[in-house]
C-alpha cells in the first residue's frame, strides 16, 4: 500500500536461548494507514505486546531483539535507525498508551509536569506556552477542571482519569501513530466505554493511525477497522473486522470467537424453595480506627457493604455484578467469614454464622468454600499440589489416606493428571492452577461455593473451559453458587439470578434474563449499555 503509515514486513523477534520457543514473533507482516484502527488480538503469550514494543524500539535488550524483517515508518526502517533518532520518533511521531495507568505515570510528579516534559524534549516552547498547552490538552480529553488537574498527582485521579491523562500525553505532539497496549483492561466497563469513545474521537480529529492491542473481542468489534489475530507469535488471520469476526476462516480464530460468552442470558432453571444461605441487613465498614495513643481525628470510615439482604437458593447460581469498589468481594468475604462484619445476619440452616467464634465456625467451614480470583496468588508456592488439596479434609478430621484418596479423585474431576499430586503450583499454567483451586474448594464437599471472579485473570478460551467445569461440578454435586464477576457476558452465561451492586448497596436483583431485557435501575441500564461489542453480538445471535 502506498499511503500506509507503517508497514511491518516479515518481522521476527528472537527470545533468549532456553526459552519456551525461539521466536516470540515470527514472520509478522501488517500495515497501518492514517486514520485507521488496526486491532491485534491474541491470548497471553501470543507476542502482541512485544510487537508493540518493537515498534517503539523498547524491546528488553539485549536478550530480546529483532532478528529479521523491517518496520517501515514513513520511509524509515525503525529496526535500523539510530538510538537518537528513535528517541525523537518516540512520543512525537509514535506514542504509546499502556495498560496500567497507575504504573505508567510517575507517582511523584504532577500530571502537568509530566506533560511538560514531553514539550521540553520535543518542542521549542516557553514555559508559559507549555503550561497553556497542557491545560488545553487535558481539556481536550474531557477531564473535568483541567486547571486543577495540571497540578494534581496521579494518585489523586481515578483510574479512568489517569488513563485520560495518559492519552493526553500520548497525543500531545499529534503523533502519526498511537499504540494502545490493552489501555482499558484495568478499567471498569463504563469507564472503558468512555475511553474507547475518546480514542476514536481523537483519532477522527488528528487522523492518527491506531494500533490497538487487546484480548477482548467485544472491544475489537466496537473500534477496529481491521483485525490481526495472533497465536504463538504468528499472525493466523488478518482482514476487515466484519470478515474476521463474522466469517472467521482460521480454526484458531473460530475457536476464540466461539469461546467469547454471548450476551444473551442462558435459560434459567427452576428455582428451589430451599434457602442455602441468606444475609439480612449485613453491614461492613472499614477504617474509623485511631492512632496508637488515641490522639488525632479517627480515620475515614468506608461503608463497603451497606445493609445487604440477599438469599441464595439451593442449586441456584446467584451472580453479584458491579464495578470495582462496589463491595461485591467484601460481601463474599463477609459471607464466608473471612472478614468480620459489623451487624446483620448470615444464616445457614437456621444458624447465624456472623456471631460464631472461630472454633465454633470450624465445622461450618466445610459447608461453604471459596474459589479465588488470582490463580497465581491463591496457591501456596512452597507446598505441593496434593498437600494443598488434602489439607482441608485433614483439618476437618479425615485421615491422611482418606484425604489423599479424595485428592486423587478430585484431580480427576477437575481434569488434571494424577501426577499433579507431587508437583509444585508454579509448574502449572493459569487455567490448571484455577482447576487446582477448585479442587481444593471441593475437597470438603461443600454445599455452597463462593467464586470470586474465578475467570477474570484467564484467557478467553481457558475461561470457557473453567466456566464449563464449574457448571459440570455444580450439576454433579448439586452446589449452590455465589458467583462474583464484573463481566456481564460471563454473568449472562453462568447465573440464574443477578444482584447488581453499587457503592456497597444492592440496587437491583432479579432473574438474569429479566435484568438483561428490562433493567429497572438506571445504573443497571448504564452497565448494560457499556458492555463492548453489543452490536456484533446482536448480529451473531439473530
Amino acid at each position: 500500500m502506498t499511503d500506509s503509515l507503517l508497514t511491518i514486513s516479515n518481522l521476527d523477534i528472537a527470545l533468549p536461548e532456553g526459552s519456551e520457543r525461539t521466536l516470540a514473533v515470527e514472520n509478522l507482516s501488517v500495515d497501518l494507514a492514517p486514520g485507521e484502527t488496526l486491532c491485534i488480538v491474541g491470548e497471553s503469550g501470543s507476542g502482541k505486546s512485544l510487537t508493540a514494543r518493537a515498534l517503539m524500539g523498547l524491546l528488553p535488550a539485549p536478550h530480546v531483539k529483532v532478528s529479521r524483517g523491517a518496520i517501515d515508518f514513513c520511509g524509515e526502517d525503525l529496526t535500523q535507525v539510530s538510538e537518537r533518532r528513535l528517541r525523537e520518533i518516540r512520543g512525537s511521531e509514535i506514542s504509546m498508551v499502556f495498560q496500567e495507568p497507575m504504573t505508567a505515570l510517575n507517582p511523584v510528579m504532577t500530571i502537568g509536569s509530566q506533560i511538560d516534559e514531553i514539550f521540553r524534549f520535543h518542542a521549542n516552547m516557553s514555559a508559559q506556552q507549555r503550561r497553556q498547552r497542557a491545560v488545553e490538552l487535558l481539556d481536550s480529553v474531557q477531564l473535568p477542571d483541567p486547571k486543577q488537574i495540571v497540578s494534581a498527582y496521579p494518585h489523586e485521579l481515578s483510574g479512568g482519569q489517569r488513563q485520560r491523562a495518559m492519552i493526553a500525553m500520548a497525543l500531545a505532539l499529534e503523533p502519526k501513530i498511537l499504540i494502545a497496549d490493552e489501555p482499558t483492561t484495568a478499567l471498569d466497563v463504563t469507564t472503558q466505554a468512555q475511553i474507547l469513545k475518546l480514542i476514536s474521537d481523537m483519532q477522527a480529529v488528528h487522523k492518527t493511525g491506531v494500533l490497538f492491542i487487546t484480548h477482548d473481542f467485544g472491544v475489537v468489534a466496537d473500534i477496529a477497522d481491521r483485525v490481526a489475530v495472533m497465536q504463538y507469535g504468528r499472525v493466523v488471520e488478518t482482514g476487515t473486522v466484519d470478515k474476521v469476526l463474522n466469517h472467521p476462516e482460521h480454526p484458531y480464530t473460530q475457536a476464540l470467537i466461539a469461546s467469547v460468552p454471548s450476551l444473551t442470558p442462558r435459560a434459567a432453571r427452576t428455582r428451589s424453595d430451599d434457602i442455602a444461605i441468606e444475609t439480612e441487613k449485613l453491614h461492613k465498614t472499614f477504617g474509623g480506627g485511631r492512632s496508637f495513643f488515641g490522639l488525632g481525628p479517627p480515620n475515614r470510615v468506608v461503608h463497603a457493604v451497606k445493609d445487604v439482604t440477599v438469599e441464595l437458593r439451593r442449586g441456584e447460581t446467584l451472580g453479584i455484578v458491579g464495578e470495582s469498589g462496589s463491595g461485591k468481594s467484601t460481601l463474599a468475604r463477609c459471607m464466608i467469614r473471612l472478614l468480620d462484619s459489623d451487624s446483620g445476619k448470615i444464616m445457614i440452616d437456621g444458624t447465624n454464622l456472623r456471631t460464631l467464634e472461630r472454633a465454633q465456625m470450624r465445622p461450618w467451614r466445610s459447608k461453604i468454600q471459596m474459589v479465588f480470583q488470582d490463580p497465581f496468588a491463591s496457591l501456596n508456592p512452597r507446598i505441593k499440589v496434593g498437600q494443598i488439596i488434602a489439607q482441608g479434609p485433614m483439618i476437618q478430621g479425615a485421615s491422611r489416606e482418606e484425604a489423599e484418596a479424595r485428592t486423587r479423585e478430585l484431580l480427576g474431576i477437575v481434569g488434571l493428571d494424577e501426577r499433579a499430586f507431587n508437583r509444585y503450583p508454579h509448574e502449572f499454567s493459569g487455567g490448571q492452577r484455577q482447576r487446582i483451586g477448585i479442587a481444593r474448594a471441593l475437597a470438603l464437599n461443600p454445599e455452597i461455593l463462593v467464586a470470586d471472579e474465578p475467570v477474570s485473570a484467564l484467557d478467553v478460551s481457558i475461561q470457557a473451559q473453567i466456566l464449563k467445569l464449574l457448571d459440570e461440578i455444580r450439576e454433579r454435586m448439586n452446589l449452590s453458587m455465589l458467583f462474583i464477576t464484573h463481566d456481564l457476558r460471563v454473568a449472562a452465561q453462568v447465573c440464574d439470578r443477578l444482584a447488581v451492586m453499587r457503592y456497597g448497596e444492592i440496587v437491583e436483583t432479579g432473574a438474569t434474563s429479566d435484568i438483561f431485557d428490562e433493567p429497572q435501575h438506571s445504573y443497571t441500564r448504564d452497565l448494560l449499555a457499556a458492555v463492548p461489542g453489543q452490536n456484533w453480538d446482536r448480529q451473531t445471535t439473530v
Binding site: L338, R362, F372, S378, N380, R382, G392, I395, L444
Partner: protein
C-alpha cells in the same frame, strides 16, 4: 607513639588485661598462631557454639514476636513494634560496648550484647513479610478451610518468608563477627580467648614494624564474612522450589 595512650584507653574501659598491653614484644609473634594451635581451637569452637545456640534461640523468639506482630496487626503489632523501635533507636555498636562494659568482658556477655543489638532488624523484616503475606489469597484459602492461626503462621506463611530470613540471617552472622572483632579491638574481648579482632587490636600498635599481625586476621575476617554471605545466598537458592526446578 601510642603504647601509653592505648594503655590508658584500655584502663578507662576497665577491660584491658595486662596480657594485651604489657605483653613483652617478642611474645607477640605468637599471637599470630593463636587461632591455630589445638589448645585454642576448643575455645574457639565453644565460642562459636555458644554464639550460634544463643543466636538461634533469640532468632526464633524474634521471628515468633515479629510473626505475631505482622499476623495479628492492630494493637499487638503496635506494642511489639514500639518495643522493637526502642532497641533500634540506640546505635548498635555503642549499645554493644555499653552492655559488655556493664557485664564485664567474657564470651557470654559478648554473645548477649551481639544478640541484643542484632534482633530488631530481623524482627522488622519478618513482620513486613508477614504483613504482606497474610492477605494473600492462599492464606485466606487456609482460613476458609478452618486452619488454626498457629498452623497458618508456621506451615503456610513462614516457609514463604524463609528466603529473606536466611539472607538476613547470614548477613547477621557476618555482622556479629564484625561486632565481636570491633569489641575485641577496643579491648573488650574475652581476655582468655584469642579472636581475630583481638589480634588486630593487639597488633595495631606494631602496624609499621610488623604489618602482618593486623593484616592476616583482617583478611581472615573479610573472607569469613564473604563466605558466610555466599552460603546464605546458596541456601536461599536451594530452598526455593522454583529455582531448584530451573537448575
Amino acid at each position: 607513639m601510642s603504647t601509653k595512650s592505648s594503655d590508658s584507653y584500655v584502663d578507662i574501659m576497665e577491660a584491658g588485661k595486662s596480657t594485651l598491653v604489657h605483653m613483652p614484644a617478642p611474645k607477640k609473634k605468637k599471637l599470630l598462631w593463636s587461632a591455630g594451635p589445638p589448645d585454642h581451637v576448643g575455645e574457639k569452637l565453644a565460642l562459636i557454639e555458644c554464639a550460634s545456640i544463643l543466636l538461634i534461640g533469640i532468632s526464633s523468639c524474634t521471628i515468633a514476636e515479629a510473626a505475631a506482630a505482622g499476623y495479628y496487626g492492630g494493637r499487638t503489632d503496635d506494642i511489639l513494634m514500639r518495643i522493637t523501635e526502642v532497641f533500634q533507636t540506640i546505635p548498635s555498636f555503642v549499645f554493644a560496648i555499653l552492655l559488655v562494659a556493664i557485664m564485664k568482658p567474657s564470651i557470654d556477655s559478648i554473645v548477649v550484647a551481639i544478640t541484643v543489638v542484632s534482633w530488631p532488624g530481623v524482627a522488622r523484616l519478618v513482620r513486613g513479610e508477614f504483613l504482606a503475606l497474610k492477605n494473600r489469597e492462599f492464606v485466606q484459602a487456609c482460613h476458609t478451610l478452618g486452619m488454626s492461626d498457629r498452623r497458618i503462621m508456621l506451615a503456610e506463611i513462614l516457609p514463604n518468608c524463609l528466603s529473606p530470613i536466611i539472607v538476613i540471617g547470614s548477613l547477621m552472622v557476618a555482622t556479629a563477627i564484625l561486632i565481636e572483632s570491633g569489641l575485641a579491638f577496643l579491648g573488650l574481648g574475652d581476655p582468655n580467648i584469642m579472636s581475630w579482632g583481638f589480634q588486630i587490636g593487639a597488633g595495631r600498635t606494631m602496624l609499621r614494624s610488623a604489618w602482618w599481625i593486623c593484616t592476616f586476621p583482617g583478611i581472615a575476617i573479610l573472607i569469613t564474612v564473604l563466605a558466610i554471605n555466599l552460603v546464605g545466598e546458596g541456601l536461599n537458592d536451594a530452598l526455593n522450589p522454583r529455582l531448584r526446578e530451573r537448575n
